[in-house]
């Protein structure tokens, strides 16, 4: 046992390391989230957290439930393939409680310009006008009804 006596300090060191490993093991068991690793190297609950995010845009189908007349009008016009919320913004809250939340109408000029300004690099097939020359400071909707923009 003399050898043991001379190496005793090393055994104390080894004991310290074993203790450290045990503490680590316990910490790991306590602190790793419950759903971690069930589907892959991540917390499976995170997927549900993402799916539970609130909806902002209701989608065209929701608008059609109450505003069928507008849908019919637009179906014949140039803007028929543009979603309602593309111009009117996210309206899921409005679809949920129509009377309580009446949305504000979008301001025409800055909005229409995004698609229809000339000299921005759009394809030649796409309808554009030179914003500076076309109708001065007048609002676009003075002449063009957005649901049926063609001036007859």
């Amino acid at each position: 046992m003399k050898r043991f006596k001379d190496a005793e300090h090393l055994l104390r060191l080894a004991g310290l390391f074993v203790l450290g490993l045990l503490v680590f093991g316990v910490a790991r068991a306590e602190l790793v989230p419950a759903t971690f690793g069930t589907l892959g190297h991540y917390r499976a609950q995170a997927i549900d957290d993402v799916r539970a995010k609130p909806i902002g845009y209701a989608g065209q189908a929701a608008c059609a439930e109450c505003h069928a007349d507008v849908v019919d009008l637009r179906a014949q016009a140039r803007h028929k393939s543009i979603a309602c919320e593309s111009c009117h913004g996210p309206l899921a809250k409005h679809a949920q409680a129509p009377e309580q939340l009446t949305p504000k109408l979008p301001v025409a000029r800055p909005l229409c310009v995004h698609c229809h300004a000339a000299n921005t690099g759009k394809s030649k097939r796409y309808p554009t006008v030179d914003i500076k020359d076309h109708a001065g400071d007048e609002s676009c909707v003075t002449c063009h009804k957005p649901h049926n923009p063609k001036i007859s």
């Binding site: 991540y42 995170a46 997927i47 310009v113």
Partner: protein, 255 residues
């Protein structure tokens, strides 16, 4: 009771019941309670996106809608999706002139005369490519970002350390650190919407239908026909990321 009144009553009852059920179901959708919405199984889906360069007019509606739907930081230089405008002189294809003013959120300024002979101009929407062999998930030290079984790369905001390694590893520049939470953030393909049968916000509002969500596991999805009949590219194919955003009409000068 004669038949017409009886028919009316039956039809009325049916419509009432259906609308109530539909309304109730939509209530659940709006409230964000997925358990009450129709059952969704990840094994049935493999999500991708198709972007048609020939259709994009740089309206910026997608950039705006994404920020609104996903509560993205309003201040500039944090984008889950953005649009770039390329102006390419055919004699100097190695040096396209590219701009993306505030990500294209307010459209683009009037810089290029329409009947220009100096080159071609087009718009390229960019977003997370939801790579099948994603380098960003590879480098995350703790497993805070991952790819789901239905092909969407997501971030676990409650687990992310904010070490920024994933931001460095993405070849496409689609990630950023949200200054409000100090965690990584990026496009989620509107996972909270597509798992309920809705379109991503960017696809919903695109005025020309340039952006289309695609489910490659759905045999009826129009993406199959589209991929078969068009010349399709992904960004930076040499990186072998397995990117799943398929571009139609992507020019060679696009970075």
């Amino acid at each position: 009771m004669d038949s017409t009144r009886r028919d009316f009553l039956i039809l009325g009852t049916k419509m009432f019941v259906m609308t109530s059920v539909a309304a109730a179901a939509f209530e659940n959708v709006l409230a964000g309670t997925p358990e009450a919405a129709a059952t969704y199984s990840t094994a049935d889906h493999w999500w991708a996106m198709v972007i048609d360069i020939e259709k994009c007019v740089g309206s910026g509606h997608c950039v705006r809608a994404c920020k609104l739907e996903n509560n993205v930081v309003d201040e500039p230089m944090y984008f889950r999706t953005w649009v770039e405008r390329y102006h390419v002189n055919p004699l100097d294809m190695d040096h396209p002139i590219v701009d993306s003013p505030n990500g294209g959120i307010d459209g683009f300024p009037e810089t290029y005369p329409d009947a220009t002979t100096t080159g071609k101009t087009f718009f390229v929407p960019k977003m997370c490519n939801h790579c099948a062999d994603s380098p960003c998930t590879q480098v995350c030290p703790v497993g805070a970002t991952f790819r789901t079984n239905d092909g969407v790369v997501l971030i676990d905001k409650d687990y992310c350390l904010g070490c920024r390694y994933c931001v460095q590893a993405c070849p496409y520049g689609c990630r950023y650190i949200d200054p409000r939470t100090n965690t990584a953030d990026k496009c989620t393909l509107c996972y909270h919407r597509i798992t309920k049968g809705l379109q991503p916000a960017c696809c919903e509002v695109c005025p020309t239908g340039a952006r289309q969500i695609a489910d490659l596991k759905n045999p009826k999805d129009p993406v199959h026909e589209f991929l078969r009949t068009h010349q399709i590219q992904i960004l930076k194919p040499q990186m072998a990321t397995g990117a799943k955003v398929y571009y139609n009409g992507l020019d060679g000068s696009v970075r």
